[in-house]
């Protein structure tokens, strides 16, 4: 624990977490905002949300990309950093099992989908159809970094990463 605290005190893990999670959420949030219908279709493909009443799934498709972008802005600017880290952690904790379930449901549906790591699917992440296993691994790393940003006690690199902001 002591070594983790010392590492945390350097501030670099927090900086890495803010940059990695912030830039990732900014990029994928912007992709979804650019094509909300594609995002709507991909979240429907999970079969986890009801399509009636329709405003639930439609509302999520409209609002969630902006939540991602705002969280990214907060992580990069340092404004409401921990609140944003809590939200990104929550989103990643929801998305990652959902991607696993989606990938698992597709195993065996095509000859080339022999195992989970063979599956290529549109996870609704804003990146189109991608291999599921690397996406799960990436999400797990982002989740660790996001939780780190949430619980970090470092006072270094807590301010704005952009001059004049935060």
């Amino acid at each position: 624990m002591g070594s983790i605290r010392r590492l945390d005190a350097t501030g670099f893990p927090l900086l890495l977490a803010r940059l990695a999670v912030g830039i990732t959420f900014l990029y994928y949030g912007a992709q979804k905002i650019a094509d909300p219908i594609a995002f709507l279709k991909s979240i429907e493909a999970y079969n986890l949300l009801p399509t009636e009443p329709s405003w639930i799934i439609n509302g999520i498709a409209v609002v969630l990309p902006w939540t991602e972008v705002l969280c990214a802005g907060a992580l990069l600017s340092g404004i409401q950093l921990r609140s944003a880290a809590l939200l990104t952690s929550g989103m990643l904790m929801a998305f990652t099992p959902a991607i696993y379930l989606l990938g698992s449901s597709l195993v065996g549906t095509k000859p080339e989908f022999q195992s989970l790591c063979d599956v290529i699917a549109d996870c609704g992440c804003g990146s189109g159809a991608i291999p599921v296993c690397p996406k799960l691994a990436t999400n797990c790393v982002l989740l660790v970094l996001s939780v780190w940003a949430l619980v970090s006690r470092s006072t270094r690199f807590r301010g704005g990463l952009i001059p004049g902001v935060g």
Binding site: G11, P36, I37, L40, S54, N58, W66, A74, F157, R158
Partner: protein, 226 residues
Amino acid sequence: MLDNPETEPPLPADQPDPPRSLCGGILPGVFAILLISMGVGFAANSIREDGSINLKRNYFNKEAVSSVSGTSEQDPGDTGAAADVDSGDSPVIAEDPDDGIQRLNFEEAQDNFITGEEEFEASGESIYLFVDARVRDQYEDGHIPGAIWLYHYESENLIDEVRSELEMAFFIIVYCNGGDCEDSLHLSVDLMSLYNLPPENIYVYEGGLDEWKERGMPVTVGSERR
């Protein structure tokens, strides 16, 4: 810029505690981010010209109206005016997953296409109408000759332009890419339930354009129908 000047240098042993309490600092920030997201998201959705989402519309209807279920097992060539025009070319239902949607396999879609094109060449019109449910770019990259464009997710804005043709057709054959694409199924249900077209006239070619091209059938590239 990167460091908070008021709190440097960091002291691992007794550094100040930047984390705030959950209720005192973090949760209000969470609610603020969520509220701003909702405000910006709904505002942006309401003002965007293309690709906006109608919050009230269910885009994923998968079951046809009950009256279609009742007719789905019968040969549509035996019903109404369609039979009078050309009962010998009437399509046969390929399979019935009990959702009330009439499906065509490749051979049936091909027969309808050939007959429709022959009719069009002879008279300038046809009772067979292919409907492309995909996004405009995909339609322009290649579509079944003669197909009209009716993107499922913007059909509310497009339906008025093509309604007269849909109402004149006796065999409306909806397709998308095939494979995992379900937009043709969703659009076919909307044509029946949302736009009140006769359910017995509406079919889905599930193989879609991917199968159409694989089988060496012609496609039209560009915005022209033929």
